[in-house]
Symmetry: C2
Subunit: 130 residues, 2 copies
Amino acid sequence: MTARRPPLPTDAELQILRVLWARGASTVRAVQSALGGAERTGYTTVLKLLQVMHGKRLVRRDERERTHIYEAAIPAEDTQRRLVSDLAERAFGGSAARLAMRALSSAPASADELRAVRTLLDRLEREGDA
Amino acid sequence: MTARRPPLPTDAELQILRVLWARGASTVRAVQSALGGAERTGYTTVLKLLQVMHGKRLVRRDERERTHIYEAAIPAEDTQRRLVSDLAERAFGGSAARLAMRALSSAPASADELRAVRTLLDRLEREGDA
DNA sequence: TTGCCAATACGAAGACCTTCGTATATCCTG
DNA sequence: CAGGATATACGAAGGTCTTCGTATTGGCAA
């Protein structure tokens, strides 16, 4: 059997992953600061979360130094894809396209973003033809 | 103050809402059957869920007859929009457009669906110009 | 060396979700 | 009218998630 893919991150876990994706490998302390400091989240809370995430293989950990360094085990793109698929499954009968349309029509997107979507669409239709 | 909007549905709640959206107002028994019968979900489980959802105002209930009739309190479109916004917030820095792109590039969409997305895009860009 | 600060590990509390058992009421059939 | 089937109500168990307190260890400065 191959190494299992980790489960989808929970809410608090996703918050931490966002920090790790943005900052790259980080200490617990750095993650905690990025989350808004002690006002928002206690240090041991972040630590515990990272430990749990390590158990789930959502993050990797470098323990060579006393102060451990954590980094996301899975790129943002992959995780985002899986989150979207999950939502499509749960709320859109499995159709990611319907989900995408709901997303586009729900929030006002900038002209730049709309252009980017169109470019992507062009590419997808070309590939579909091929 | 105006009537509060209900919270986002949980997983099991969403499953039930999907039945109510598809079938319209239904009895507990009908929902349970639609979910795959007793093999999949016990009757009292569905009942309890609907009672909880009623408490959260996710569903409305007609109690005039002994056998209550439940219906979704919020249309599928609205709830889907809120679910998408929530995910955009949690995993895409608030950008629904980036979420849409991830959705489109993650799952193969049919040509029909791609056309529909393009049409929607046309409309959005027109409205943006206006 | 002693004592302090910072880090990790661990456990447990409290919240929410899902599931189901049981109690009770109501209806219908014979 | 009695008995069974079917309905609702309620409580509680078991799971997961998030939070934090406390214990312990390692390093460093005076």
